[in-house]
């Protein structure tokens, strides 16, 4: 009896979690794959179409436009957050008067939801009245709504995403910095190294595994960016911020082409998985 109870014990402990995981994570993922093979409308499947949803995406200009917009976003966002969070982490690592307030400034946005962050930035960039526009005007630049200019709008959205996420990246990097022995910097200083040399020759090489995590996570974030776009630009102006997730949202929840939307979701997943794999494959080995 006791032995039976011992054998059952792990199943009783893990069972409820695994059951919910199966229903609300594994099943939806599997079903998304399945739906992507169908012409699936609001009332369910109309016809099995094989890979047609994927081939039609391949031939769809809107899909490619979204793909390049998302890639462009990643190309702005990933280097920006990696460099800025690294610089911030290095500066926040050692004690300074007021360091608690500085940390709070960068960590606080972690608790602000994307809708509020988007509104705060909309307000800052509001033409003629927002603070940013007032600053631009002080430099003699005419009032303009950067969110209404293709190209600029995507950049402003990357700033919001940066604002929200930089604290999280700094926390990860600070944990890594704690593992670099101070003696290394002291020895370097005796040899007359500059702060920049310290950063490039000691910090960056030793932080590589953590920097890799930061890069991979920020790529994942970049290809999943959604809330900021939905609230700030709704994909506009002229479709210039219609990232892949926006396209999925439009196909799925505005046109109810659910099979096609599921296919876009699968494609996003494949892109993220491929990029993450490449990163780990080529950069981790050398560490």
């Amino acid at each position: 009896m006791v032995r039976l109870r011992s054998t059952l014990f792990p199943y009783l402990m893990a069972g409820p979690y695994i059951a919910l995981f199966a229903v609300f994570v594994a099943y939806p993922v599997g079903r998304a794959l399945y739906m992507s093979l169908f012409d699936w409308g609001i009332f369910g499947p109309n016809a099995f179409v094989g890979l047609d949803n994927y081939t039609s995406l391949w031939n769809d200009r809107r899909f490619w436009s979204s793909f390049w917009i998302t890639s462009g976003f990643a190309l702005m966002y990933v280097p920006m957050i990696t460099v800025i969070s690294l610089v911030l982490a290095v500066m926040l690592h050692r004690k300074l008067p007021g360091i608690g307030i500085f940390r709070t400034a960068f960590f606080l946005p972690i608790v602000i939801n994307v809708a509020v962050a988007a509104i705060a930035f909309n307000w800052l960039f509001e033409p003629n009245i927002g603070t940013i526009d007032k600053v631009l005007a002080a430099f003699g630049l005419p009032g303009q709504n950067l969110l209404q200019i293709p190209g600029w709008s995507l950049f402003v959205i990357s700033l919001v995403t940066l604002w929200i996420n930089v604290g999280f990246m700094v926390i990860i990097l600070l944990a890594g910095l704690e593992n670099i022995p101070d003696e290394l910097y002291e020895a370097a200083r005796l040899d007359g190294s500059t702060a920049l040399q310290d950063l490039l020759l000691i910090t960056v090489p030793l932080l590589r595994p953590i920097l890799l995590i930061v890069v991979v996570l920020s790529i994942v974030q970049a290809f999943q960016i959604f809330g900021e776009v939905l609230i700030m630009t709704q994909g506009g102006p002229f479709g210039s911020t219609t990232v892949l997730t926006m396209l999925l949202y439009e196909e799925g929840f505005e046109r109810f082409a659910l099979g096609r939307a599921a296919a876009i979701g699968v494609v996003i997943t494949i892109i993220i998985a491929t990029l993450s794999f490449i990163q780990f494959r080529f950069f981790r080995r050398e560490v």
Binding site: P10, F24, A26, N113, A120, T131, L230, I268
Partner: protein
């Protein structure tokens, strides 16, 4: 030493500028949430007139068909039930993954880890279909249930349970304690700091989660806070309502800002790579 002092001063100035930039969006939002609508047209850095009207309106009236108090109530219910549910599920499951052997354990844990890399957007379409079939669209349960198998708590708690020395439970077992007694009387109290960490970061996630609640709720009665704010903000073309939206944004963020001030330590420890990512 001389050189180092100069370096510290530079570091301080750079940090101060960046910190000011990082505070700017929220500070501007808060300042103008206390301004009468007419101030919006003047804009700038600081309003010249002040009022509490925005807060009174936002907390007592319905705006554009959605209500901020209803959103706050919904978010509170969702948060309490999700935190309770996640702790009840995660603590035992993480313990099982960390310290017991069962068939399929490693495969299951690998699947759980892989799911962390899955974009949430992949699941929402089929999840919506599923929730529609069981009639949970536009209900709080529809928001709550899919959030329960979140991975992060399992990850943090498993990490903790793995490093508790074996001798502890062996000693208790010699004294005749059952598996469950060892778990409940020895392990759970030991894990309390990790449990608090999971509680805090789950509360944050619950209150701020946007994508899934946006998809599964489209009636004002069921909307949590971020969805309410998104609905209100769709009206920024009417510039005169701006101060109302700012007030709604701030008042609904306040609980999490307070949680941050009290629990910053736990938030940071929950996000460190040693305890888990994401």
């Amino acid at each position: 030493m001389q050189q180092r002092k100069g370096a510290n001063a530079t570091r301080w100035i750079v940090l101060a500028i960046l910190a000011a930039l990082w505070f700017l969006p929220l500070v501007s939002l808060v300042l103008f949430s206390f301004a009468p609508p007419s101030e919006v047209l003047k804009g700038g850095f600081v309003p010249t007139q002040w009022t509490l009207d925005n807060y009174v309106k936002v907390l007592t009236e319905t705006q554009r068909g959605v209500s901020v108090p209803t959103g706050i109530w919904n978010s509170t219910v969702i948060m309490v039930l999700q935190v309770a549910g996640i702790l009840l599920l995660d603590v035992p499951a993480a313990y099982a993954f960390a310290r017991t052997k069962f068939i399929g354990r490693n495969v299951l844990f690998a699947l759980v880890l892989v799911s962390m890399m899955m974009p949430g957007i992949l699941e929402v379409i089929s999840l919506y279909d599923l929730m529609a079939n069981i009639g949970l669209v536009n209900t709080l349960w529809g928001v709550i249930l899919p959030g329960l198998p979140r991975v992060i708590g399992i990850f943090i708690l498993r990490q903790f349970f793995m490093q508790v020395p074996r001798e502890l439970d062996e000693a208790a077992r010699i004294d005749g304690a059952t598996d469950f007694q060892v778990f409940l009387k020895i392990m759970v109290p030991l894990a309390l700091p990790s449990i608090i960490t999971v509680t805090v970061i789950t509360a944050l996630y619950s209150w701020n989660n946007f994508l899934w609640p946006l998809i599964v709720t489209n009636t004002p009665e069921a909307m949590p806070v971020p969805v309410v704010i998104a609905y209100l903000s769709a009206d920024t073309s009417a510039v005169l309502n701006y101060t109302l939206i700012l007030a709604a944004a701030f008042v609904t963020s306040l609980p999490m800002i307070l949680l941050f001030l009290v629990g910053q330590r736990w938030i940071v420890s929950g996000m460190r790579p040693t305890s888990g990512i994401k």
